[in-house]
Symmetry: C2
């Protein structure tokens, strides 16, 4: 596997904290998706309570983005930002065949790094 | 995007339920990983309290697997199965450069399907 300087892993504090799980399948074509995704990622990282993100998409267009937040209030504020930004204005239907959002409270965490 | 008969989305009940977020980066080479992953997926789906799974890995070997469970007891039982199975016996270090596990309680969910 290639070694990259930017780790795809989020560096998170001890639980509890929150996660927004965004599972999606992209529609055909870019249609401004790349720009929007970049803007959204930047806006998210500037939000109060933002802890980090992990994101993967496969060649079939199915992806999972887990974004981590300090508390529910941070998530509500972020949702309001998204609602007023281009992502919502042009309709997510433009970029996604389907998406599912689950909001969850992380209660414990552990890991391994070689 | 290709249309497949098997949807990558999990079909889940109304919250609350639990999610085990498994973020990982694969080591080089298969070394039995494919067989192990297949066996683990089958064993998970046979466990009491298993609700579903969503899983993606990119070309760089970074992946996210979110598995969904009815309650914490189901997760503990599943963890015991994993611990006694090959995945643990041979050491996850064989297959992963790094992994992080977060266990969370899903509190609300919504989505869109075109």
């Amino acid at each position: 596997m290639p070694t990259t300087t930017a780790s795809p892993f989020a560096h998170l504090p001890e639980p509890p904290y929150y996660v927004v799980i965004f599972s999606s399948r992209r529609s055909e074509g870019d249609n401004g998706y790349g720009n929007m995704a970049e803007t959204m990622a930047r806006l998210a990282s500037e939000q109060p309570g933002y802890l980090g993100v992990e994101s993967v998409r496969d060649a079939d267009g199915f992806g999972i983005t887990n974004s981590y937040w300090a508390d529910e209030e941070s998530i509500r504020a972020w949702k309001a930002v998204v609602s007023h930004a281009a992502a919502q204005k042009f309709g997510r239907e433009r970029w996604y065949e389907e998406y599912q959002v689950r909001v969850a409270r992380v209660e414990r965490a552990y890991g391994f790094a070689g």
